[in-house]
């Protein structure tokens, strides 16, 4: 029943990101409990032989007393990660064919992931909002009030300018001191090579990089009932387009773009997830958790 609240159309009616994220994550987690394949816990994971340099606090002394061997007792929940979300706030994210803008959908995803990371996983979480430069940076942290700061940062993220991946990502690399999980939420209206080329350095630093490609269904399968003039939200450039082209060549080019982005992302060791704004949010959460689990 709580799955219903993963529906973007339902979430659009919730004004508070805090409540929205709680609703999404609680519903998602409850759904996971019913699925044994996707389960996880913070219980005992394994023993590992002590090596010099390990923290002695993690030695299982009871085991040492019985066996006189030093083993480290490891728990799953004890491994903390750092989640950093790069949110594209360019004007193109303002596009909407339905009740939900791509920016809103991206906010919901980010908020839900922040909630999930901080509240459930006790990971550090940070946010970088960018367009053609970094507009907002919230350092990853697990401090008290971090979640509220992140939500406030999301609230302030309004689409403004064009997208430029190279400049903010170059700047972003300066902030990364600890490897973790990097989520890039964008509509990726750029050549795949350029995108991968700009994001690939993050991967080189040992980060797990996930590309969340947010698109409106109308952007994938647009429908024109007649010839009309289209205007680019970012550049204000106008172009007259005929429906025949949209029905055939546009779709082919869009599909090729998606496929190229997916392929090149995987080739660069990144995960890629296409998120369509009329679908539920669980795909994004499941991707994150899968990666989180794999990282442990």
């Amino acid at each position: 029943m709580l799955q219903r609240y993963l529906d973007p159309a339902v979430l659009a009616g919730i004004s508070s990101l805090d409540l929205l994220a709680k609703t999404v994550v609680d519903g998602f987690v409850a759904g996971l409990h019913r699925s044994p394949d996707c389960g996880f816990s913070q219980e005992f994971a394994e023993y590992r032989a002590y090596t010099p340099g390990d923290d002695l606090r993690h030695v299982d002394w009871n085991l040492f007393a019985r066996t006189e061997r030093t083993y480290l007792k490891r728990y799953r929940g004890e491994t903390n990660s750092q989640l950093t979300i790069l949110l594209d706030a360019s004007k193109s994210m303002q596009y909407s064919s339905g009740p939900l803008k791509k920016m809103d959908y991206a906010r919901f995803i980010a908020a839900s992931l922040f909630y999930l990371a901080i509240h459930n996983q006790r990971d550090a979480a940070g946010l970088i909002v960018f367009d053609d430069e970094v507009r907002e940076y919230i350092r990853p942290s697990t401090r008290q009030g971090q979640l509220a700061r992140l939500f406030a940062g999301l609230e302030r993220a309004e689409p403004q300018a064009r997208t430029d991946y190279s400049k903010p990502l170059r700047h972003f690399q300066n902030f990364l001191h600890r490897r973790g999980i990097v989520l890039v939420i964008s509509d990726f209206y750029e050549e795949p090579e350029t995108i991968i080329h700009a994001i690939a350095p993050l991967r080189f630093h040992g980060n797990e990089v996930i590309l969340f490609h947010v698109l409106d269904p109308e952007e994938i399968r647009p429908v024109l009932k007649g010839s009309m003039v289209l205007v680019d939200l970012e550049t204000d450039r106008k172009m007259e387009v005929v429906p025949e082209y949209v029905k055939t060549q546009y779709r082919a080019r869009m599909d090729a773009h998606l496929e190229a982005l997916r392929t090149q992302a995987h080739a660069a060791g990144m995960d890629y997830q296409l998120l369509v704004t009329d679908r539920s949010l669980d795909a994004a959460l499941r991707e994150y958790l899968a990666l989180r689990q794999a990282g442990n």
Partner: protein, 681 residues
């Protein structure tokens, strides 16, 4: 094409609205935003041209819608000839005149008419007309086959005389109520004698298409008939050689010279026979004398043994009443001996009259009973004994008739006995020189009746009147006037009787009428009219009328009239017998009539002998007649007649229907295009 409400065309100014909206106002295109034009390419096909075309179509629809609405209010109409099949009327005219009895003419005509009726287009209205002595409309314009067929089959050959002029008049009158075209099919023997004197009378209106069906094919067959019979209606003395004689004229139409046997039949028995040589296409006279008839009414006939193809016209019937001579009371002024002399001489000169004139002075008339006389003449006798005058009043009221002649004693202000008025003045024409003539004569008046007055107006203009009394003519019938308009012969009905007033005298002093031959004719007809014998016996033509009672007579005061027609039937119903004013003699034979005042009459009725001349109308005349309608339609009458045939047909309904369709199309197109634009926006 026109408009019933053209002032609504001012609404055409509303056409500027779609012009402004579509052509003058610049169209604003709202571009559709997209995230990126990265994957789009500029279209080769110009959407602007598409849009312009769509908008032009929408503009045309809106323009047409406004135009049609305005036109619908202006109510356009076209003049359309109402010549569709359902509006045509088939008028079947079947000749039932006497001549149609010859051979199988009537049966042929009736059969052809039935065939024509059956062959008409389904649903076309038809009307059946019988043409005899008068034009009878047997049905209304209907489409019921059974009713039309029954009407046709009910027509029987009659004894009347057809006249195509009457038919033309009837059809022209019919056209005042039937506005559509008429297909007139005339089934007749096209007898020449049925043509009117004026060809224009038988010409039909242009919208009537005449089709002639001549059932008398070929030349006219020879036909002998008894054209006329001159026999006394009243006979007092069968031994009187002047009166007791029957003179018959037999005539042959299209006949060779032949010897025929002519018989006199009295009471069904042949009493005399005579052979007569009739020249080719000529006449011959046969005389039977004496006429030995019994007292009372005698039904007589003159019959020719013709042996031709038309035996129905071989006999002419007449009735002779034998009675004692009737007395006529002639009251004259004292010392006036001239007027009884002239009047008596004229009365005796009339062969067919059987009157004895009793002449008395006015002062000697006190004890006389007028009811014992056939009629009374008051010659210049303005002063009568009161007892006699009262007796005359009662006599006239009961049906007696009086001739009043105003002579020299008729001074201004003198009271006219019985007349109920005074002499309003006198006209002394002799003082100014010669007297004045008689101008207008009504020859339909029985006392002045002449069948063929001729160019000399019956001899009346030769009469010179020197002195005439001026009488108020209001409410009376003026039968003759002098050339200056002064009433000369007047008739006034009082009760059942009539007063015949002569505004001058009978004494050759105030006029020279007694010296002219027309005086004898006048006395003859006046005597017969005043005595009433004119209507009691003798012969009439078919379709003549017999007056059954006077117009002023109250129906309740008089008894019933009894009429027995030649076939022994009573043509009048009980109510008609009490109220009918006149009777139309529409059958040949003897009519027996019992009048309300107790008088009996037997009248022989004969068909008009013009029907015996079976010569048809020449073919060129028939072609002219049947083609006259269309010719006139193409000729002089084309300026007016086709206009009358066309009727304005309003196009309001069609325009409104077209406007509704345009509105629906405009709604569909507008919602599609504008909906697309909204979506694009």
């Amino acid at each position: 094409m026109g408009f019933l409400a053209p002032w609504f065309l001012a609404g055409l100014a509303a056409l500027s609205v779609p012009v402004f909206v579509h052509l003058l106002r610049k169209h604003v295109t709202v571009p559709r935003p997209v995230s990126s034009l990265m994957f789009f390419e500029r279209g080769i096909q110009s959407s602007t041209r598409h849009r312009k075309l769509k908008h032009l179509l929408l503009f045309a629809l809106r323009f047409a819608l406004v135009l049609l609405v305005v036109l619908a209010f202006a109510n356009p109409f076209v003049r359309r000839a109402s010549a569709d099949a359902n509006s045509r009327l088939l008028l079947i005219v079947l000749d039932r005149s006497f001549s149609m009895r010859a051979g199988t003419r009537f049966a042929d005509a009736q059969q052809q008419a039935l065939t024509t009726l059956a062959a008409r287009p389904r649903g076309e209205k038809a009307q059946i007309v019988a043409l005899g002595g008068e034009v009878e409309l047997l049905t209304q314009p209907i489409a019921d086959d059974a009713q039309l067929r029954a009407a046709l089959e009910s027509i029987e050959p009659g004894d009347g005389h057809a006249n195509f002029g009457e038919l033309g008049r009837a059809v022209r009158a019919m056209m005042e109520t039937v506005h559509g075209p008429i297909d007139l099919d005339l089934f007749s023997d096209m007898q020449h004698s049925a043509m009117p004197a004026n060809f224009g009378d038988m010409v039909f209106p242009p919208s009537v298409k005449l089709t002639l069906h001549n059932v008398a094919k070929g030349a006219a067959p020879p036909n002998w008939t008894v054209e006329s019979v001159n026999a006394p209606a009243e006979l007092a003395d069968p031994k009187d050689p002047k009166l007791s004689r029957v003179e018959a004229v037999v005539v042959g139409f299209n006949t060779p010279a032949a010897t025929k046997t002519v018989s006199l039949v009295i009471g069904g028995k042949i009493v005399a026979t005579s052979k007569v040589n009739i020249p080719a296409n000529g006449r011959a006279t046969v005389e039977f004398t004496p006429l030995n008839v019994a007292y009372g009414f005698n039904r007589c006939a003159v019959r020719i043994d013709s042996g031709d193809a038309f035996p129905a016209d071989d006999a002419t019937v007449f009735a002779v009443r034998r009675s004692d001579p009737e007395r006529v009371l002639f009251v004259h002024a004292a010392g006036d001996t001239r007027s009884p002399l002239y009047f008596g001489a004229a009365l005796n000169a009339v062969a067919q009259s059987s009157y004895v004139l009793q002449s008395v002075g006015a002062e000697q008339a006190t004890d006389l009973d007028p009811s014992k006389f056939a009629f009374v003449v008051l010659s210049d006798s303005l002063t009568l004994p009161s007892i006699f005058e009262h007796a005359l009043d009662a006599y006239v009221a009961k049906g007696g008739n009086v001739l009043v002649a105003l002579g020299t004693s008729a001074a201004h202000g003198a009271r006219i006995p019985l007349w109920g008025g005074q002499v309003q003045g006198v006209r002394d024409y002799a003082r100014n020189g010669e007297g004045i003539g008689v101008g207008q004569v009504d020859f339909s008046y029985p006392a002045l009746a002449q069948e063929q007055p001729g160019h000399d107006n019956g001899g009346w203009p030769e009469v010179k009147v020197d002195y005439a009394a001026l009488v108020d003519a209001a409410g009376v019938r003026v039968a003759a006037r002098l050339t200056d308009g002064t009433p000369f012969v007047l008739d006034k009905q009082i009760g059942e009787g009539h007063i015949l007033l002569l505004a001058s005298g009978l004494d050759n002093l105030t006029n020279d009428l007694p010296l002219h031959p027309v005086f004898v004719v006048f006395v003859d007809h006046a005597a017969r009219y005043l005595s009433g014998t004119a209507r009691l016996s003798g012969s009439r033509l078919v379709d003549a009328y017999v007056q059954l009672r006077s117009g002023t007579e109250a129906a309740t005061a008089a008894g019933s009239v009894e009429v027995i027609d030649p076939e022994g039937r009573r043509p009048l119903s009980l109510s008609e017998a009490r109220t009918a004013q006149s009777l139309r003699l529409d059958h040949a034979g003897f009519y027996q009539i019992h009048f309300a005042n107790g008088q009996d009459a037997v009248i022989g009725v004969n068909p008009d002998r013009r029907e015996s001349d079976l010569a048809p109308i020449p073919d060129d005349v028939l072609e002219l007649w049947s083609g006259s309608s269309s010719n006139e339609a193409n000729g002089t009458a084309s300026a007016t007649a086709p206009e009358e045939a066309k009727q304005p047909v309003s196009l309001w309904w069609y325009v409104m229907l077209l406007g509704l369709l345009t509105a629906m199309a405009e709604t569909a197109f507008a919602s599609r295009y504008l909906g697309t634009e909204r979506e694009e926006a």
